[in-house]
Protein backbone atom coordinates (compact mmCIF):
# COMPACT_ATOMS: atom_id res chain seq x y z
CA UNK A 1 0.00 0.00 0.00
CA UNK A 2 1.29 3.40 -0.98
CA UNK A 3 1.99 5.73 1.87
CA UNK A 4 0.00 8.92 2.32
CA UNK A 5 2.93 11.10 1.36
CA UNK A 6 3.55 9.21 -1.86
CA UNK A 7 -0.04 9.48 -3.01
CA UNK A 8 -0.12 13.15 -2.17
CA UNK A 9 2.96 13.80 -4.28
CA UNK A 10 1.51 11.87 -7.16
CA UNK A 11 -1.74 13.86 -7.03
CA UNK A 12 0.21 17.11 -7.10
CA UNK A 13 2.20 15.84 -10.09
CA UNK A 14 -0.84 14.83 -12.10
CA UNK A 15 -2.51 18.14 -11.36
CA UNK A 16 0.53 19.99 -12.73
CA UNK A 17 0.42 17.87 -15.87
CA UNK A 18 -3.24 18.67 -16.24
CA UNK A 19 -2.46 22.35 -16.02
CA UNK A 20 0.02 22.02 -18.87
CA UNK A 21 -2.20 19.92 -21.10
CA UNK A 22 -5.18 22.19 -20.67
CA UNK A 23 -3.03 25.24 -21.44
CA UNK A 24 -1.71 23.53 -24.56
CA UNK A 25 -5.23 22.72 -25.59
CA UNK A 26 -6.23 26.35 -25.32
CA UNK A 27 -3.20 27.48 -27.32
CA UNK A 28 -3.98 24.91 -30.02
CA UNK A 29 -7.59 26.08 -30.14
CA UNK A 30 -6.65 29.66 -30.79
CA UNK A 31 -4.00 28.68 -33.36
CA UNK A 32 -6.52 26.43 -35.05
CA UNK A 33 -8.76 29.41 -35.53
CA UNK A 34 -5.91 31.34 -37.16
CA UNK A 35 -5.04 28.46 -39.45
CA UNK A 36 -8.63 28.00 -40.46
CA UNK A 37 -8.84 31.67 -41.33
CA UNK A 38 -5.77 31.37 -43.53
CA UNK A 39 -7.41 28.44 -45.31
CA UNK A 40 -10.58 30.42 -45.70
CA UNK A 41 -8.64 33.37 -47.17
CA UNK A 42 -6.98 31.11 -49.70
CA UNK A 43 -10.21 29.61 -51.02
CA UNK A 44 -11.32 32.45 -53.36
CA UNK A 45 -7.91 32.44 -55.03
CA UNK A 46 -7.81 28.68 -55.41
CA UNK A 47 -11.32 28.36 -56.80
CA UNK A 48 -10.90 31.18 -59.30
CA UNK A 49 -7.58 29.73 -60.36
CA UNK A 50 -9.04 26.27 -60.87
CA UNK A 51 -11.86 27.73 -62.94
CA UNK A 52 -9.57 29.66 -65.26
CA UNK A 53 -7.07 26.82 -65.50
CA UNK A 54 -9.82 24.36 -66.36
CA UNK A 55 -11.15 26.53 -69.16
CA UNK A 56 -7.65 27.07 -70.54
CA UNK A 57 -6.78 23.39 -70.38
CA UNK A 58 -9.87 22.49 -72.34
CA UNK A 59 -8.80 24.91 -75.03
CA UNK A 60 -5.20 23.88 -75.47
CA UNK A 61 -3.92 20.45 -76.40
CA UNK A 62 -3.06 17.64 -74.03
CA UNK A 63 0.69 17.76 -74.44
CA UNK A 64 1.10 21.49 -74.55
CA UNK A 65 3.45 21.55 -71.58
CA UNK A 66 6.22 19.19 -70.44
CA UNK A 67 4.80 19.49 -66.94
CA UNK A 68 1.74 17.54 -68.07
CA UNK A 69 3.46 14.61 -69.76
CA UNK A 70 3.90 11.46 -67.65
CA UNK A 71 7.29 9.77 -67.88
CA UNK A 72 7.34 6.39 -69.57
CA UNK A 73 9.57 4.88 -66.95
CA UNK A 74 9.31 6.11 -63.42
CA UNK A 75 12.54 5.51 -61.53
CA UNK A 76 13.17 8.62 -59.51
CA UNK A 77 10.40 9.57 -57.17
CA UNK A 78 10.42 12.58 -54.92
CA UNK A 79 8.15 12.91 -51.93
CA UNK A 80 7.28 16.17 -50.21
CA UNK A 81 6.53 15.09 -46.68
CA UNK A 82 4.58 17.59 -44.61
CA UNK A 83 4.65 16.97 -40.87
CA UNK A 84 4.65 19.13 -37.79
CA UNK A 85 7.71 20.40 -35.94
CA UNK A 86 6.46 19.40 -32.56
CA UNK A 87 4.90 16.34 -31.07
CA UNK A 88 2.13 15.94 -28.50
CA UNK A 89 -0.51 15.82 -31.16
CA UNK A 90 -1.61 12.21 -31.02
CA UNK A 91 -1.13 10.02 -34.07
CA UNK A 92 -0.87 12.98 -36.40
CA UNK A 93 2.73 12.60 -37.54
CA UNK A 94 2.69 8.84 -37.34
CA UNK A 95 -0.21 8.70 -39.77
CA UNK A 96 1.64 10.87 -42.24
CA UNK A 97 4.87 8.96 -41.94
CA UNK A 98 3.12 5.63 -42.20
CA UNK A 99 1.49 6.72 -45.42
CA UNK A 100 4.88 7.55 -46.91
CA UNK A 101 6.27 4.29 -45.59
CA UNK A 102 3.46 2.21 -47.06
CA UNK A 103 4.06 3.86 -50.41
CA UNK A 104 7.72 2.83 -50.22
CA UNK A 105 6.74 -0.67 -49.20
CA UNK A 106 4.21 -1.10 -51.98
CA UNK A 107 6.76 -0.02 -54.54
CA UNK A 108 9.74 -1.80 -53.01
CA UNK A 109 10.02 -4.21 -55.94
CA UNK A 110 10.29 -1.44 -58.51
CA UNK A 111 13.73 -0.35 -57.35
CA UNK A 112 12.75 3.26 -57.03
CA UNK A 113 15.18 5.98 -56.19
CA UNK A 114 13.31 7.97 -53.58
CA UNK A 115 14.26 11.34 -52.19
CA UNK A 116 12.45 13.66 -49.81
CA UNK A 117 11.67 17.28 -49.18
CA UNK A 118 10.81 17.55 -45.52
CA UNK A 119 8.47 20.19 -44.20
CA UNK A 120 8.57 19.83 -40.42
CA UNK A 121 11.01 18.34 -37.97
CA UNK A 122 9.16 15.10 -37.34
CA UNK A 123 9.25 14.01 -40.95
CA UNK A 124 12.85 15.10 -41.33
CA UNK A 125 13.96 13.14 -38.30
CA UNK A 126 12.20 10.08 -39.61
CA UNK A 127 13.93 10.44 -43.00
CA UNK A 128 17.27 10.78 -41.27
CA UNK A 129 16.67 7.73 -39.16
CA UNK A 130 15.68 5.66 -42.17
CA UNK A 131 18.62 7.10 -44.09
CA UNK A 132 16.52 8.43 -46.92
CA UNK A 133 17.96 11.19 -49.05
CA UNK A 134 16.73 14.60 -47.94
CA UNK A 135 17.07 17.18 -50.68
CA UNK A 136 15.51 20.02 -48.81
CA UNK A 137 14.15 20.72 -45.40
CA UNK A 138 11.96 23.51 -44.12
CA UNK A 139 11.60 23.84 -40.38
CA UNK A 140 9.34 26.30 -38.62
CA UNK A 141 6.79 26.47 -41.42
CA UNK A 142 4.03 24.01 -40.62
CA UNK A 143 1.98 25.17 -37.67
CA UNK A 144 3.35 28.68 -37.81
CA UNK A 145 2.44 31.63 -39.98
CA UNK A 146 3.87 31.36 -43.46
CA UNK A 147 3.21 33.03 -46.78
CA UNK A 148 2.97 31.97 -50.39
CA UNK A 149 6.68 32.57 -50.95
CA UNK A 150 7.69 29.38 -49.25
CA UNK A 151 5.47 27.38 -51.60
CA UNK A 152 6.77 29.08 -54.72
CA UNK A 153 10.41 28.77 -53.63
CA UNK A 154 10.15 25.08 -52.92
CA UNK A 155 7.87 24.55 -55.91
CA UNK A 156 10.36 26.16 -58.27
CA UNK A 157 13.09 23.82 -57.11
CA UNK A 158 10.86 20.81 -57.69
CA UNK A 159 9.85 21.97 -61.16
CA UNK A 160 13.44 22.61 -62.20
CA UNK A 161 14.52 19.19 -61.05
CA UNK A 162 11.55 17.57 -62.71
CA UNK A 163 12.29 19.30 -66.01
CA UNK A 164 15.98 18.43 -65.89
CA UNK A 165 15.10 14.77 -65.36
CA UNK A 166 16.27 14.48 -61.77
CA UNK A 167 12.77 13.46 -60.73
CA UNK A 168 10.25 11.45 -62.71
CA UNK A 169 7.40 11.95 -60.32
CA UNK A 170 6.75 14.22 -57.38
CA UNK A 171 4.19 13.46 -54.71
CA UNK A 172 3.14 15.39 -51.69
CA UNK A 173 2.10 13.75 -48.44
CA UNK A 174 -0.05 16.01 -46.31
CA UNK A 175 -2.85 15.84 -43.82
CA UNK A 176 -6.23 16.72 -45.23
CA UNK A 177 -8.33 18.71 -42.81
CA UNK A 178 -11.77 17.08 -42.88
CA UNK A 179 -13.09 18.49 -39.64
CA UNK A 180 -11.81 19.40 -36.21
CA UNK A 181 -12.31 15.78 -35.20
CA UNK A 182 -10.95 14.18 -38.34
CA UNK A 183 -7.72 14.59 -40.27
CA UNK A 184 -6.84 12.33 -43.14
CA UNK A 185 -3.28 11.62 -44.24
CA UNK A 186 -3.35 11.97 -48.02
CA UNK A 187 -0.92 11.49 -50.85
CA UNK A 188 -1.23 13.50 -54.02
CA UNK A 189 0.76 13.60 -57.20
CA UNK A 190 1.81 17.09 -58.18
CA UNK A 191 4.28 16.41 -60.99
CA UNK A 192 3.64 15.56 -63.75
CA UNK A 193 0.45 17.49 -63.24
CA UNK A 194 -2.44 15.06 -63.38
CA UNK A 195 -5.01 15.73 -66.11
CA UNK A 196 -6.82 18.90 -65.22
CA UNK A 197 -10.47 18.52 -64.57
CA UNK A 198 -12.55 20.99 -66.42
CA UNK A 199 -14.75 22.66 -63.90
CA UNK A 200 -18.28 22.44 -65.16
CA UNK A 201 -20.70 24.58 -63.31
CA UNK A 202 -24.13 23.48 -64.33
CA UNK A 203 -25.88 25.96 -62.12
CA UNK A 204 -24.09 28.88 -63.68
CA UNK A 205 -25.08 29.02 -67.31
CA UNK A 206 -23.31 32.28 -67.96
CA UNK A 207 -20.00 30.51 -67.44
CA UNK A 208 -20.61 28.11 -70.28
CA UNK A 209 -21.35 30.95 -72.59
CA UNK A 210 -18.52 33.34 -71.96
CA UNK A 211 -15.51 31.23 -71.08
CA UNK A 212 -14.90 29.73 -74.51
CA UNK A 213 -14.95 33.20 -76.01
CA UNK A 214 -12.12 34.70 -74.01
CA UNK A 215 -9.59 36.71 -75.88
CA UNK A 216 -6.29 35.46 -74.60
CA UNK A 217 -3.10 37.41 -74.54
CA UNK A 218 -0.65 35.81 -75.18
CA UNK A 219 -2.05 32.59 -76.68
CA UNK A 220 -3.94 30.08 -74.52
CA UNK A 221 -0.96 27.73 -74.69
CA UNK A 222 1.40 30.35 -73.35
CA UNK A 223 -1.04 31.34 -70.68
CA UNK A 224 -1.35 27.73 -69.67
CA UNK A 225 2.42 27.40 -69.51
CA UNK A 226 2.53 30.37 -67.22
CA UNK A 227 -0.18 29.00 -65.00
CA UNK A 228 0.90 25.39 -64.65
CA UNK A 229 3.90 26.09 -62.40
CA UNK A 230 1.62 28.24 -60.28
CA UNK A 231 -0.70 25.27 -60.03
CA UNK A 232 2.15 23.32 -58.43
CA UNK A 233 2.76 26.14 -55.92
CA UNK A 234 -0.92 26.23 -55.12
CA UNK A 235 -0.98 22.50 -54.45
CA UNK A 236 1.98 22.81 -52.11
CA UNK A 237 0.57 25.86 -50.38
CA UNK A 238 -2.80 24.26 -49.83
CA UNK A 239 -1.09 21.10 -48.58
CA UNK A 240 0.86 23.15 -46.07
CA UNK A 241 -2.21 25.08 -44.97
CA UNK A 242 -4.20 21.92 -44.45
CA UNK A 243 -1.37 20.22 -42.61
CA UNK A 244 -1.01 23.21 -40.28
CA UNK A 245 -4.70 23.31 -39.58
CA UNK A 246 -4.77 19.56 -39.02
CA UNK A 247 -1.82 19.75 -36.66
CA UNK A 248 -3.59 22.22 -34.40
CA UNK A 249 -6.82 20.26 -34.55
CA UNK A 250 -4.99 17.03 -33.74
CA UNK A 251 -3.14 18.65 -30.86
CA UNK A 252 -6.33 20.13 -29.55
CA UNK A 253 -8.09 16.79 -29.34
CA UNK A 254 -4.97 15.00 -28.05
CA UNK A 255 -4.62 17.56 -25.27
CA UNK A 256 -8.31 17.40 -24.53
CA UNK A 257 -8.02 13.65 -24.07
CA UNK A 258 -4.94 14.08 -21.93
CA UNK A 259 -6.73 16.57 -19.70
CA UNK A 260 -9.62 14.18 -19.30
CA UNK A 261 -7.24 11.34 -18.48
CA UNK A 262 -5.62 13.56 -15.86
CA UNK A 263 -9.01 14.22 -14.31
CA UNK A 264 -9.72 10.51 -14.11
CA UNK A 265 -6.33 9.89 -12.58
CA UNK A 266 -6.74 12.57 -9.96
CA UNK A 267 -10.06 11.05 -8.96
CA UNK A 268 -8.57 7.61 -8.74
CA UNK A 269 -5.61 8.81 -6.70
CA UNK A 270 -7.84 10.83 -4.42
CA UNK A 271 -9.79 7.67 -3.59
CA UNK A 272 -6.56 5.85 -2.93
CA UNK A 273 -5.43 8.68 -0.69
CA UNK A 274 -8.69 8.64 1.27
CA UNK A 275 -8.44 4.90 1.70
CA UNK A 276 -4.87 5.16 2.93
CA UNK A 277 -5.80 7.94 5.33
CA UNK A 278 -8.72 5.96 6.68
CA UNK A 279 -6.52 2.92 7.16
CA UNK A 280 -4.00 5.04 9.06
CA UNK A 281 -6.74 6.47 11.29
CA UNK A 282 -8.12 3.03 11.97
CA UNK A 283 -4.66 1.76 12.83
CA UNK A 284 -4.08 4.71 15.18
CA UNK A 285 -7.43 4.15 16.89
CA UNK A 286 -6.66 0.48 17.35
CA UNK A 287 -3.38 1.45 18.99
CA UNK A 288 -5.08 3.88 21.36
CA UNK A 289 -7.84 1.47 22.25
CA UNK A 290 -5.28 -1.31 22.67
CA UNK A 291 -3.14 0.92 24.90
CA UNK A 292 -6.14 1.96 27.03
CA UNK A 293 -7.19 -1.65 27.46
CA UNK A 294 -3.69 -2.58 28.58
CA UNK A 295 -3.59 0.21 31.19
CA UNK A 296 -6.94 -0.86 32.62
CA UNK A 297 -5.71 -4.35 33.28
Amino acid sequence: MATLKEVQLKIAGVKKTRQITSAMKMVATSRLRGAQMAMEAFRPYASKFAEVLGSLASKSGEDSSPLLVPREEVKKVHIVLCTSDRGLCGGFNINLIELAQSYLKNNADKNLEVSFTAFGKRGRDWCKKQQHTITDEYIGVVGAKFNFNIASTSGNKLINKFLSGKYDEVHVVFSRFVSVGKQQATMKQILPIPPIEVVEEQDNEANDVYLPEHICEPSPEELLNDMLPRNVFIQIYSGLLETSTSEHAARMSAMDNATKACNDMVGELQRLYNKARQAAITADLMDIVGGAEALKG
Binding site: A41, Y45, K48, V52, F148, S152, I215, P218, L223
Partner: protein, 140 residues
Protein backbone atom coordinates in the same frame (compact mmCIF):
# COMPACT_ATOMS: atom_id res chain seq x y z
CA UNK B 1 -24.45 49.63 -69.65
CA UNK B 2 -23.37 49.83 -66.08
CA UNK B 3 -21.21 52.71 -64.98
CA UNK B 4 -18.98 50.62 -62.82
CA UNK B 5 -17.01 47.44 -62.99
CA UNK B 6 -16.30 45.33 -60.01
CA UNK B 7 -12.58 45.06 -59.37
CA UNK B 8 -11.35 42.13 -57.35
CA UNK B 9 -7.71 41.61 -56.48
CA UNK B 10 -7.07 38.32 -54.74
CA UNK B 11 -3.84 36.84 -53.42
CA UNK B 12 -3.37 33.45 -51.79
CA UNK B 13 -3.30 35.17 -48.43
CA UNK B 14 -6.19 37.58 -48.67
CA UNK B 15 -8.53 39.60 -50.84
CA UNK B 16 -6.82 42.96 -51.28
CA UNK B 17 -9.47 44.90 -53.15
CA UNK B 18 -13.12 44.27 -53.81
CA UNK B 19 -15.00 47.37 -54.92
CA UNK B 20 -16.83 49.01 -57.79
CA UNK B 21 -14.58 51.19 -59.91
CA UNK B 22 -14.76 53.24 -63.09
CA UNK B 23 -11.55 52.28 -64.87
CA UNK B 24 -8.76 49.77 -64.41
CA UNK B 25 -5.32 50.04 -65.97
CA UNK B 26 -3.15 47.00 -65.44
CA UNK B 27 0.42 46.00 -66.41
CA UNK B 28 -0.21 43.12 -68.82
CA UNK B 29 2.70 41.05 -70.05
CA UNK B 30 1.97 42.19 -73.61
CA UNK B 31 1.73 45.80 -72.56
CA UNK B 32 -0.35 47.93 -70.28
CA UNK B 33 -4.06 47.76 -70.91
CA UNK B 34 -7.10 49.69 -69.76
CA UNK B 35 -10.51 48.30 -68.98
CA UNK B 36 -13.77 50.20 -68.91
CA UNK B 37 -17.21 48.84 -68.07
CA UNK B 38 -18.50 46.60 -70.84
CA UNK B 39 -15.09 45.28 -71.84
CA UNK B 40 -15.07 42.07 -73.84
CA UNK B 41 -13.99 38.90 -72.05
CA UNK B 42 -10.25 38.90 -71.83
CA UNK B 43 -7.55 36.90 -70.12
CA UNK B 44 -3.90 37.83 -69.75
CA UNK B 45 -0.83 37.38 -67.63
CA UNK B 46 0.50 40.32 -65.67
CA UNK B 47 3.94 41.73 -65.11
CA UNK B 48 5.31 43.06 -61.88
CA UNK B 49 4.13 46.62 -61.63
CA UNK B 50 1.45 49.05 -60.60
CA UNK B 51 -2.23 48.55 -61.24
CA UNK B 52 -4.14 51.81 -61.37
CA UNK B 53 -7.83 52.26 -60.97
CA UNK B 54 -10.25 55.13 -60.65
CA UNK B 55 -12.66 54.54 -57.81
CA UNK B 56 -16.30 55.58 -57.50
CA UNK B 57 -15.39 59.05 -56.29
CA UNK B 58 -13.00 59.67 -59.15
CA UNK B 59 -9.80 59.25 -57.15
CA UNK B 60 -6.98 57.43 -58.85
CA UNK B 61 -5.41 54.72 -56.77
CA UNK B 62 -2.36 52.58 -57.29
CA UNK B 63 -1.79 49.06 -56.17
CA UNK B 64 1.35 47.02 -56.35
CA UNK B 65 0.98 43.73 -58.23
CA UNK B 66 3.58 40.99 -58.13
CA UNK B 67 2.83 39.09 -61.33
CA UNK B 68 -0.15 36.84 -61.83
CA UNK B 69 -3.00 37.13 -64.25
CA UNK B 70 -6.19 39.03 -64.86
CA UNK B 71 -9.56 38.08 -66.22
CA UNK B 72 -11.89 40.75 -67.53
CA UNK B 73 -15.62 40.30 -67.99
CA UNK B 74 -18.08 43.00 -69.04
CA UNK B 75 -18.94 43.82 -65.44
CA UNK B 76 -16.02 42.41 -63.49
CA UNK B 77 -12.23 42.30 -63.40
CA UNK B 78 -10.55 39.61 -61.38
CA UNK B 79 -6.83 39.85 -60.69
CA UNK B 80 -5.05 36.85 -59.22
CA UNK B 81 -1.68 38.03 -57.99
CA UNK B 82 1.00 36.20 -56.09
CA UNK B 83 1.16 39.16 -53.79
CA UNK B 84 -0.30 42.62 -53.87
CA UNK B 85 -0.32 45.67 -51.63
CA UNK B 86 -2.19 48.91 -51.39
CA UNK B 87 -0.01 51.97 -51.27
CA UNK B 88 -0.43 52.43 -47.52
CA UNK B 89 0.55 48.81 -46.90
CA UNK B 90 3.84 48.99 -48.73
CA UNK B 91 6.81 48.55 -46.45
CA UNK B 92 9.14 51.26 -47.71
CA UNK B 93 12.09 50.29 -45.55
CA UNK B 94 11.89 46.70 -46.69
CA UNK B 95 11.66 47.71 -50.34
CA UNK B 96 14.70 49.99 -49.95
CA UNK B 97 16.69 47.22 -48.36
CA UNK B 98 15.63 44.78 -51.07
CA UNK B 99 16.69 47.30 -53.69
CA UNK B 100 20.12 47.73 -52.15
CA UNK B 101 20.57 43.98 -51.82
CA UNK B 102 19.62 43.39 -55.43
CA UNK B 103 21.88 46.20 -56.65
CA UNK B 104 24.78 44.80 -54.72
CA UNK B 105 24.19 41.32 -56.01
CA UNK B 106 23.94 42.44 -59.61
CA UNK B 107 27.00 44.64 -59.22
CA UNK B 108 29.22 41.86 -57.95
CA UNK B 109 31.54 40.54 -60.57
CA UNK B 110 31.49 36.97 -59.47
CA UNK B 111 32.42 34.16 -61.81
CA UNK B 112 30.49 31.71 -59.72
CA UNK B 113 27.31 33.69 -60.02
CA UNK B 114 24.65 31.49 -61.56
CA UNK B 115 22.07 32.63 -64.07
CA UNK B 116 19.32 31.81 -61.65
CA UNK B 117 20.75 34.27 -59.12
CA UNK B 118 20.76 37.01 -61.70
CA UNK B 119 17.16 36.30 -62.62
CA UNK B 120 16.16 36.31 -59.00
CA UNK B 121 18.03 39.50 -58.22
CA UNK B 122 16.48 41.21 -61.22
CA UNK B 123 13.00 40.15 -60.16
CA UNK B 124 13.66 41.37 -56.62
CA UNK B 125 14.88 44.66 -58.03
CA UNK B 126 11.81 45.07 -60.20
CA UNK B 127 9.55 44.42 -57.25
CA UNK B 128 11.38 46.88 -55.04
CA UNK B 129 11.50 49.51 -57.75
CA UNK B 130 7.79 49.38 -58.47
CA UNK B 131 6.93 49.43 -54.79
CA UNK B 132 9.04 52.52 -54.23
CA UNK B 133 7.69 54.18 -57.33
CA UNK B 134 4.12 53.74 -56.15
CA UNK B 135 4.93 55.27 -52.79
CA UNK B 136 6.82 58.18 -54.26
CA UNK B 137 4.39 58.97 -57.07
CA UNK B 138 1.80 60.37 -54.72
CA UNK B 139 4.17 62.02 -52.30
CA UNK B 140 5.37 64.46 -54.92
Amino acid sequence: MADYIKLEIVTPEKAVVSENVKTVIAPGSCGEFGILPGHTTFLTTLNIGALRYVDKNGTERKIFINGGFAEALPDKVTVLAESSERRRDIDVERARRAMERAEKRLGEDDAQKKDIDVIRAKAAMARAMHRLRIVESINH
